[in-house]
Subunit: 328 residues, 2 copies
């Protein structure tokens, strides 16, 4: 039975628009002052497909789509953004904070974007500069900020799957090191453009950790990450000699790539407690299976919850968001 209006708690009023704008997609939420999501929009308008100079128009269109939640407010809500929207090829370059970075300082590096009737701030990325290795992230730092808000002294290894997966070392709520692995992009390239395309023939992976192809690929990848290059072609040979193709072959490719990634990352990591896995949906299931198969415990952190927590925390640093505050 729906609650009657008399019994219903008062709905929080909208306080801020939070945007996670990555390479391949954009997600925007209207959040209440406590961070509760009141409305949401998703689109495939990632940085890769937005033309230079086109970011503001795309954002305004998304705000239009969130209109029902925004109508009738005395003035426009402020907008807090993270991800590739702050890259050099994005809306406005938001710079990098240099590792080691206490995550509670992420908001301090934000870049303001002034535009007619818009008050927007883009959070910075993180950069690792070592004599032997460079690395960068944009967007994941905001998920990590959300994570440490719940666990201020979090330490240990964090796995953040995606097109460019991040493996992050936390030490007492700070990022001390991280590495990017191009697993998602390699899967897409190999499926679509390599000799393996004849074997996969357009089939997607099932996304099921129990699928036979995923399990066999995962076991081989975990056991010998260095032989990944040598195992990929076995997918083609298995087609020619044993007729293994389509979804089973795609699952095997997925298992080999994720297995090699997880195997290499954990081989280099001290066994210091569970691995925090920041993910959702299909990737959460597959990486959970992979990390457990490697003999490590998993603590799952929902990626959407984490990024919203990080964004609302940053927003509170920029604007007063309490009920009755001037932003509403």
């Amino acid at each position: 039975m729906p609650p009657t209006s008399a019994a219903a708690p008062r709905s929080p009023l909208p306080a801020v628009v939070a945007v996670d704008w990555g390479t391949s997609s954009l997600r925007a939420w209207v959040l209440g002052p406590d961070g509760a999501p009141l409305a949401e929009t998703r689109s495939a308008e990632g940085m890769d497909v937005v033309a230079a100079g086109g970011f503001e128009a795309v954002l305004r269109a998304r705000l239009g789509e969130l209109g029902a939640a925004l109508d009738g407010l005395p003035r426009p809500l402020p907008v807090v953004l993270c991800g590739m929207v702050g890259a050099r090829q994005g809306w406005r370059e938001a710079g990098y904070l240099e590792v080691p970075v206490p995550l509670l300082e992420v908001a301090d590096g934000a870049t303001a974007v002034a535009a007619e009737g818009l008050d927007a701030r883009i959070l910075p990325g993180l950069a690792l500069r070592r004599p032997e290795r460079h690395d960068v992230m944009r967007g994941e730092e905001t998920q990590l900020l959300g994570l440490v808000l719940h666990e201020p002294e979090a330490s240990g290894l964090v796995c953040m799957p995606g097109t460019h997966c991040k493996w992050v070392r936390l030490a007492s709520g700070a990022v001390s090191d991280f590495t990017t692995v191009m697993t998602g992009e390699l899967f897409a390239l190999l499926s679509r453009d390599s000799i393996l395309r004849h074997t996969l023939a357009g089939a997607a992976a099932s996304g099921e950790p129990e699928a036979a192809g995923f399990r066999s690929g995962l076991a081989e990848g975990l056991a010998e990450p260095g032989l990944l290059g040598a195992r990929l072609f076995s997918i083609r040979a298995g087609h020619l000699l044993a007729g293994i193709e389509g979804t089973e072959a795609a699952d095997r490719l997925s298992g080999l790539l994720i297995g090699a990634e997880v195997g290499a990352a954990l081989a280099a990591a001290a066994p210091d407690g569970p691995i925090r896995l920041v993910a959702s949906g299909r990737l959460a299931r597959l990486y959970d299976a992979a990390i457990r198969a490697a003999g490590r415990e998993v603590r799952l952190v929902d990626a959407d919850d984490a990024v919203r927590s990080g964004l609302i925390h940053a927003a509170r640093r920029f604007w007063p968001l309490a009920e009755g505050d001037p932003a509403r």
Copy 2:
């Protein structure tokens, strides 16, 4: 001073046309009865670009190009072929010999192709069927045949670089095991289609083993082949944070991929004598540097010489090629 016609040794008469027809290119030679090359043609008409049913016409066009060497013969020369031309998507499927394979038996598995005025034989490929792994090769078995003709009891590891590199274990002139690594194809895919394309910006690798980018990538790849996936993105980050791009970045990609391949292959190999490297040109230089950097000796075998030796040996099994024989 050019030799006078009186002093010149009699040129051998043409005896056979030998064709190495791979995925991305075709090379054909007119050979004398002793295997000496009398004329040569090369083209980019590999299996990947020849339409189904189009192989015979392409071969006739190449024979036409070799016309000067073939004109005036009493009848057409026989043609011996190896490589992807014998694949299911090639001219005629030539089957596989199952490992272990004594290389002197390769010619026994040839497939005859009858066509108007053409007497052609395609050599078979090799297949590895193990419960845990399948693999296939086409073309390299003929180079290996050429190798064992000079060293009938050859044993040890053979490195055969290319789009799909082969690492072959020989035991007394037989192939006992082999593995394909997709290094060349990965280089092409990552250069052209991945996020790294922005960093390479169309630049080719220098192909120089002494180039700084190649040396740094090679050292990292050799040291930790399992971290290849994690090192690839450092090329992008090195561009964003340190401005390393173009040829230097392409060299680094080449070094990382070759280093990880060689490092993984040698880690799994007993230290039993020099590595035979069947290659020529740029790849011979780069892999020679990589194998030596891993602390192993190299014995270079010219890939073109080897494939011609294998093809002429097989041709002698099919047709009498001695001077004055009925083929001429």
